[in-house]
C-alpha cells in the first residue's frame, strides 16, 4: 500500500535521511523505532509532503507521490497524525474532526457518511464526545492526542501515519493509546507507527524497522525482533 524507496531528505544543507527503503502492506501495522534524533519524524514528514524529499520514491497504492504538496497527498488518502498533535486550538473538537474529513466534504475524495464517522470517533474516544463543543486548545494532552488520531482517521485513510502518539502521556494513557492502536489494526487500518516505546510498539506491530542516523539499521517481523537478544540489548533497554 505504501512503498518507500531510497528516500533522501535534508533540512537546509544538513542531510537527515540517507536513503530510506521501507514498505507497509495493506492492513499491516508497521513500527518505525529508533532513538531520539534518528530521523523518524523526518521520515514521516517526507512521506506526507510536509517536507519535500530531495530524491527517492514514495508510492501510495500505484501512484507516485514524492514531491507532491502535502494537501494533495492527503486528498489521495494518506493521513498523518503529526508529532506534537497539532490540533487546531481555536476550533471546537467537533470542527477539528470535520476538518479531518475536509477532502471528503469538498469533493476531493469519496464523501461517505461524515456524520456517522464522527459518531464512530466519539465511540472510539468517548472523552471526545464529552468535550465536543470545547475548544481543542483547552483539552488535556491526552485528549489532544486522541483528537489528533481521530482527526486523522476522519479522512478514511488508505494509510495512517502516527508520530509518537504516546509522547508526554501518563503510563495509564499510554496503555490506552496502544489499546486503541490495536483496535484500529483489528479494524483493518493500514498504519505506520513511529514510537520511542519500542517494546510496546513491537507488541502491537506486524513488522518493524529500526532507524539509526537516518538509515534503516535493521528490519524484520516484530515478534522475532521482540525475542532477539541482540535487539533487546540495543533497542529495548530501559525496561520498557
Amino acid at each position: 500500500m505504501l512503498k518507500i524507496d531510497q528516500l533522501v531528505a535534508s533540512y537546509g544543507k544538513v542531510r537527515v535521511l540517507h536513503g530510506i527503503t521501507l514498505q507497509v502492506k495493506k492492513g499491516a501495522l508497521v513500527a518505525l523505532i529508533g532513538s531520539n534524533g534518528a530521523g523518524k519524524t523526518t521520515t514521516l514528514r517526507a512521506i506526507s509532503g510536509m517536507l519535500r524529499p530531495q530524491s527517492g520514491s514514495v508510492q501510495l497504492g500505484d501512484a507516485e507521490i514524492a514531491g507532491k504538496p502535502a494537501y494533495e497527498i492527503a486528498r489521495r488518502g494518506l493521513a498523518h497524525s503529526p508529532e506534537g498533535r497539532r490540533v487546531f486550538p481555536t476550533l471546537p473538537v467537533r470542527d477539528n474532526l470535520e476538518l479531518g474529513a475536509y477532502p471528503r466534504l469538498t469533493g476531493a475524495r469519496t464523501k461517505g457518511d461524515v456524520a456517522a464517522d464522527i459518531e464512530r470517533m466519539y465511540e472510539l474516544f468517548p472523552r471526545l464526545r464529552e468535550r465536543r463543543g470545547q475548544l481543542a486548545g483547552t483539552l488535556s494532552g491526552g485528549e489532544q492526542q486522541m483528537l489528533a488520531m481521530a482527526r486523522a482517521l476522519m479522512l478514511s485513510p488508505e494509510v495512517l501515519l502516527l508520530d509518537e502518539p504516546s509522547m508526554g502521556l501518563s503510563p495509564k494513557l499510554v496503555e490506552e493509546v496502544f489499546a486503541t492502536i490495536a483496535r484500529l489494526k483489528a479494524a483493518g487500518i493500514t498504519m505506520l507507527l513511529v514510537e520511542q516505546f519500542a517494546a510496546a510498539a513491537l507488541e502491537v506491530a506486524d513488522f518493524a524497522y529500526v532507524l539509526e542516523n537516518g538509515k534503516i539499521a535493521l528490519s524484520g517481523e516484530a515478534a522475532k525482533m521482540r525475542d532477539d537478544p541482540a535487539v533487546r540489548a540495543a533497542y529495548l533497554g530501559g525496561g520498557h
Binding site: A74, F88, L99, G100, R151
Partner: protein
C-alpha cells in the same frame, strides 16, 4: 453637552470605516502573517470603480438607490480580483522564500501603482459620489445624523458579521481558521493553504472596496482618499490586535471620535493629527515586534 454628543455621533461612522479597514488587515495577517499596505488604495479603487458603475447605471435611467444596490456586487467582485492580484504579484513569492521585507515593499509599491492608475483614469480632483439616501440630516433629540452615516455603521457591522458566520459555519470558513491556527497541520487535512491565503487577500480587498463605496457619499472620492485612511487604520489594527477580535472596531471608533473632537475643539486643520500621532506612538513603542516575533519567523 449637546455639541459633544453630536461630535461623538459624527465620529462613529468614520470610526467604523477605520475598523473595517483594520479588519481587512486582520484577515490576511491571520492566514499568512502578511498584510496589504495598499489596503487604503483598495478602498480608493473600490470607491472609484463604484463611482463609474453607479454613474453608468444612473445614466441608464436607474434611480440612485437602485443603482447603488446594483453597483455593490460589481464593487465586491472588483475588490476580490484586486486583492487576488496583490497576493499573486506581491505576496506569494515572499511567503515562499520566507522573505520578511519582500511583501512589505511589494504591497506598498502595488498601492502606489494603483494610485497612479487611478489618477490617470479618474483625474486628481475629488469627485462627488451620488448618495443613495437623502442627504438631509435626521434630527434625533437635537442630534443631527445623516442617513448615510447610519448606513455605514450597519453596512460595516453586517459585513464583519457575514465573515464571522462564514468562518464559523462553513467548511471553507473552518479551513480558513485552521490555516490561521497552523498552516502545516491545515495542509495535512488536505487544505490548499496557498489558495486560502489568496482568498483572504481577495476578501480583505473586498471589505475595503465595500467600505469605500459606503464612505464615498459622505466624504468625496478621489485617487488620494485611501493613503491616510490606510495608515490610520494600520495604527488601529496594531492597537486593536492584528490576529483577530473586535478590538479593531473599538479602536476604530475611539480614533474616529477623537478626531471629530479634535477637529471641533482644536481646528479642523488638525483633524488627521491624532491618528498619525497614534501611528507614531505605535511605531515607537513596538519598534521591533510590530508583527510579533514568532509571527515573522513563521512567514
Amino acid at each position: 453637552m449637546q455639541i459633544f454628543l453630536q461630535l461623538v455621533v459624527s465620529g462613529i461612522s468614520v470610526g467604523m470605516i477605520y475598523g473595517v479597514i483594520a479588519f481587512g488587515y486582520q484577515l490576511t495577517f491571520a492566514t499568512s502573517k502578511t498584510l496589504n499596505f495598499g489596503q487604503g488604495e483598495a478602498l480608493m479603487t473600490g470607491a472609484l470603480v463604484g463611482l463609474t458603475t453607479i454613474n453608468f447605471l444612473i445614466g441608464n435611467h436607474f434611480g440612485v438607490s437602485v443603482a447603488f444596490i446594483l453597483m455593490i456586487p460589481v464593487v465586491l467582485l472588483f475588490g476580490a480580483c484586486q486583492g487576488s492580484v496583490v497576493e499573486w504579484l506581491g505576496v506569494r513569492q515572499a511567503i515562499k522564500t520566507k522573505s520578511e521585507a519582500g511583501w512589505i515593499m511589494a504591497t506598498i509599491a502595488l498601492g502606489i501603482i494603483f494610485k497612479n492608475l487611478a489618477e490617470n483614469i479618474w483625474g486628481r480632483d475629488a469627485l462627488k459620489f451620488p448618495s443613495p439616501l437623502p442627504e438631509a440630516s435626521l434630527d434625533i433629540g437635537g442630534i443631527r445624523i445623516q442617513p448615510m452615516e447610519v448606513a455605514i455603521v450597519i453596512g460595516a457591522l453586517l459585513m464583519m458579521l457575514a465573515v464571522e458566520v462564514f468562518n464559523r459555519t462553513s467548511i471553507y470558513g473552518k479551513a480558513v481558521v485552521a490555516t490561521s491556527n497552523d498552516r502545516d497541520a491545515a495542509q495535512l487535512m488536505g487544505i490548499n493553504t496557498g489558495r486560502v491565503i489568496t482568498f483572504s487577500y481577495a476578501l480583505s480587498s473586498m471589505t475595503a472596496a465595500l467600505a469605500g463605496v459606503l464612505v464615498a457619499p459622505v466624504t468625496l472620492t478621489g485617487a488620494s482618499m485611501g493613503a491616510v485612511l490606510g495608515l490610520k487604520a494600520f495604527a488601529v489594527a496594531i492597537i486593536g490586535g492584528l490576529s483577530s477580535g473586535l478590538g479593531v472596531v473599538v479602536g476604530g471608533l475611539i480614533l474616529g471620535i477623537v478626531e471629530t473632537l479634535t477637529g471641533f475643539y482644536v481646528s479642523t486643520g488638525y483633524k488627521d493629527v491624532p491618528g498619525l500621532v497614534l501611528l507614531l506612538i505605535v511605531l515607537s513603542v513596538k519598534p521591533s515586534g510590530l508583527f510579533g516575533k514568532s509571527a515573522i519567523k513563521k512567514v
